[in-house]
């Protein structure tokens, strides 16, 4: 695409429907969108306009808030009545299992009772433990694991990629061969071996270990980006001005590679959720007494025929978290991609045409 300097005619009113069709040619709409805005502003606006990503962001935040506030986290108590793994005491609460078989007490707005959550909205398991609190604890574990994986993978990936791409030569060869070394194995197999070493009730060591094997994709992307960025004029200019290598990397090149990094990290995190839950399911991840969504599914898999809710809720939340993170990643990619254009639908084009016709008719009418 040619980079033209926007020639904005001050006399022309952008609200005027004739403005778009008055001869700026291809790219005029994008230029108008970008006039007087920084790159960050453009990206932010594009992201905020992305309906799918925004919905996903709201849902994800809601899930995180629900997960962390309900059963409490660290020393902060939660508002939910039951702690994870707790079960009603027949003497104190008057029942062991609320509904027959421990069925969920949540009722939907269209049912006879109307909407209500009851004492055990997600049901109870065979010995009466409250499922809601366990699922919430599982969400906490998964989110913590994913965030740690994201941080570790980003740091390692950016570091390796940036050094390899900036210095090239021997450093590049060595680092990329190390990347090849890690990439040769399916992450789930490596994760299982690491899980056998680090996997236990505490999610942090496991997350650190998994983070140490999921940075490879990011490092390759960052390296490619740096290889092309270092040939650009602004890098030469910085070097001529006497900037040190560190300054060039952090001040000049890294901000320009931010789009690639953010998108790739989001997608790494969404696959990390599935990796952690899979490992916990297989028995190589989080173990009791801690709770993970994957662990819950593996615990209650056999109960599917009799108590399906024990299986449904944890799975539903895994899908929900992974899906929303994926959607956010997609929205970010669209926002960072300068080639992306919003293409109006046929109906919108027809409406715009009609508006234009009417405006023309008015103008000619006014002149006569």
């Amino acid at each position: 695409m040619s980079t033209r300097i926007p020639m904005v005619d001050p006399d022309r009113d952008p609200q005027d429907p004739l403005w778009e069709s008055s001869g700026d040619g291809e790219g005029a709409i994008e230029l108008r969108e970008a006039v007087g805005k920084s790159q960050g502003q453009i990206v932010r606006e594009r992201f905020l306009r992305h309906r799918g990503a925004m919905t996903a962001l709201v849902v994800l935040i809601a899930v995180i808030v629900l997960g962390f506030s309900s059963v409490g986290f660290w020393f902060v108590p939660g508002w939910w009545e039951w702690a994870p793994g707790e079960r009603p005491d027949p003497e104190l609460h008057g029942y062991r299992v609320f509904n027959e078989g421990g069925a969920p007490t949540i009722t939907m707005p269209w049912s006879e009772e109307g909407f209500g959550i009851g004492p055990h909205p997600f049901g109870q398991d065979d010995i009466g433990r409250d499922m809601f609190s366990m699922v919430m604890r599982g969400i906490q574990t998964s989110i913590i694991v994913v965030v740690i994986i994201g941080v570790v993978a980003t740091l390692l990936g950016v570091l390796v990629g940036a050094i390899a791409g900036f210095f090239r030569g021997a450093a590049d060869q060595v680092l990329m061969r190390i990347t090849d070394l890690v990439i040769t194995l399916p992450t789930i197999a490596l994760g299982a071996v690491l899980g056998a070493i680090f996997g236990a009730a505490d999610p942090v060591p496991l997350a650190l270990a998994i983070g140490a094997i999921t940075w490879t994709g990011l490092s390759r992307l960052v390296r490619a980006e740096f290889l092309s960025l270092r040939e650009r004029e602004f890098v030469d200019a910085a070097r001529v001005a006497g900037a040190s290598n560190l300054r060039i990397i952090f001040k000049h090149m890294l901000p320009n590679a931010m789009g690639v990094i953010i998108v790739s990290v989001t997608l790494t995190m969404s696959s990390a959720i599935l990796l952690e839950t899979s490992l916990s399911y297989l028995g190589f991840g989080i173990t009791l007494p801690n709770v993970s969504l994957g662990l819950l599914i593996s615990e209650y898999e056999t109960a599917f025929a009799t108590r399906p809710w024990l299986f449904w809720w944890p799975g539903l939340f895994i899908v929900l978290i992974a899906l929303t993170v994926n959607f956010i990643g997609d929205g970010l990619r669209d926002a960072f991609d300068p080639r992306q254009r919003r293409i109006p639908s046929v109906r919108k084009l027809a409406a715009a045409d009609r508006r234009l016709e009417r405006a023309r008719a008015n103008q000619t009418g006014a002149r006569q």
Partner: protein
């Protein structure tokens, strides 16, 4: 070129050596062969521990043990399991076959379906169909395999088997299914409102009629293709393939594919008699079927060649593809003929879709029934594996096709007056496949990782099960064998991907 290959292979071997060393150290930490003895209450525990330390050389350093293991592995001895006393090589043989079966079927199916759906979706960018495909590929991408597999076990196996026990669909179900199918078809076809209505109605009527036909003829319990459906499907395949590959105006191609369809119908009964004879002589087997398949495709090509013309190669190609489809349908029909006897087998007793292992223990039958048994075991794990890989291919081929559609050569092709079919199939589709060639080998490695989970859930004996079980039971050798084999495959896959890329795209030069 040769230099490139030699260099990459040497580099790969070096990486493999290093990666096996690192894996060995990690697995050595992960497994503890003495675990069961430490917790045992046996009064002789101390002597047993001493014995096992000697047996496994645990008193040596792990580096020393690595070189002992690597030396043996390179000379073709992957070791022996201390737990069962079985040589790992023996265990591997069965496991590799199981995994290859699973991964092959899933790979081919997801490539075909994924590319097809992705390309149609790209051609209808920003339409309802496109949004639907993108959304569902996201959902599939976010599904945990183990969760889907449990759902498939519940609905796919138990639900479908229950349905087969009493196959009845109420007319309302059929109408709803038909309407949904019609809407989906119309979304994929798109076009002006009139055409949309026609395609909704047409699709709904076709699907509804098919479902009523299946129900009315008791097809569910006696599935068959038979001459009449063979003719119908054959005509559809003949016209469809010709339309896609050369366009209907290419008369010779159309006639050659229709001739192939006619020939298949004529040969249907003789081929079945041949199979009856082979069954009687107990000769039926995959070698013969593959040979027959080759003959079928070759005769299709020959038909195209005989129709002649200046561009006979196009007719030959079209007729060859149609012949392959027709051959597959005759084979499928043959397998289906044995469905009732398979279903009635005392080991199956009306539960044809199986969820455990790779064959029913104690099942006996002729070649076709055994094949059905294998398929019955293969179908659910394959589906579970396919879902994720399908989403990857859909997204990738959609993106790739969109990229290609914006290229200048597409505009040139349209500008010089080529038909839309030629532009899309010859200029667009072929260029879309180039970048795909690089992700297929890499995706197969991902599938191997997915197979780890599916094999565990469906209790299929395979490499993944072998890996997980031995990791749990603290047996090192099979775990290492798995890791080394998968790493070797991955390295090989990456070299193949680079070579394929260079071979398909002349702009890329290999010089690494």
């Amino acid at each position: 070129m040769l230099q490139f290959i030699v260099r990459r292979v040497l580099m790969g071997a070096l990486i493999l050596l290093l990666s096996s060393f690192l894996c060995f150290l990690m697995v050595d930490v992960a497994v503890d062969p003495l675990e069961d003895l430490y917790t045992s209450t046996d009064p002789d525990a101390a002597t047993l521990i001493q014995e096992r330390i000697e047996q496994l050389n645990l008193d040596r350093s792990s580096v020393e043990r690595y070189f002992m293991w690597a030396g043996a592995f390179i000379t073709g001895d992957p070791g022996t399991s201390w737990l069962t006393g079985r040589p790992v090589a023996e265990e591997l043989r069965g496991a590799v076959i199981g995994t290859v079966q699973l991964v092959t079927a899933a790979t081919f199916l997801s490539i075909f379906l994924g590319i097809g759906v992705g390309i149609v979706s790209a051609l209808r960018q920003y339409s309802g169909f496109d949004y639907l495909v993108v959304f569902f590929s996201f959902v599939l991408y976010s599904l945990p395999v183990f969760w889907v597999a449990v759902l498939l076990k519940q609905w796919g196996a138990i639900g479908f088997n229950d349905f087969l026990a009493d196959p009845f669909l109420s007319p309302i179900t059929i109408i709803v299914v038909a309407l949904v199918a019609g809407v989906l078809i119309s979304l994929a076809i798109a076009g002006p409102p009139r055409r949309r209505v026609i395609s909704i109605l047409g699709g709904a009527v076709a699907v509804g009629a098919m479902l009523f036909y299946l129900q009315g003829t008791g097809w569910w319990n006696e599935p068959h293709i038979g001459p009449e459906l063979l003719l119908l499907n054959g005509l559809a395949a003949g016209f469809g393939i010709t339309l896609l590959s050369t366009g209907l105006e290419h008369r010779r191609a159309l006639y050659s594919s229709l001739t192939v369809v006619g020939l298949t119908l004529v040969l249907y009964f003789p081929v079945n008699m041949l199979f009856d004879y082979l069954d009687g002589a107990q000769l039926t087997g995959w070698p013969i079927i593959v040979a027959l398949g080759v003959v079928t495709v070759a005769s299709g090509v020959l038909v195209g060649r005989l129709f002649g013309g200046p561009d006979w190669s196009q007719s030959a190609r079209t007729a060859g593809i149609v012949a392959a489809i027709m051959g597959a349908m005759v084979l499928l029909d043959r397998i289906m003929q044995f469905w009732p006897s398979y279903n009635a087998n005392s080991r199956i007793s009306g539960r044809p879709i199986r969820t455990f292992q790779e064959r029913t223990p104690g099942f006996e039958g002729n070649f076709w029934e055994v094949t059905l048994n294998t398929f019955g075991h293969l179908i659910l794990p394959t589906l579970a594996l396919m879902l994720i890989s399908f989403a990857t291919y859909t997204r990738f081929s959609r993106g790739s096709m969109l990229e290609v559609m914006n290229q200048d050569y597409m505009r040139t092709a349209r500008a010089k007056g080529l038909g839309e079919r030629t532009v899309i199939m010859r200029h667009g589709f072929r260029n879309t496949l180039i970048p795909l060639a690089t992700i297929v080998p890499v995706d197969i490695i991902t599938l191997l990782g997915g197979a780890l989970i599916t094999e565990r859930i469906f209790a299929r004996p395979g490499m993944g099960t072998m890996f997980l079980n031995n990791l749990e039971e603290n047996v090192m050798e099979p775990v290492m064998a798995y890791l080394v084999i998968v790493a070797a495959l991955a390295i090989l896959a990456n070299i193949v991907a680079d070579l394929l890329y260079a071979a398909l795209d002349p702009r890329i030069r290999v010089s690494a």
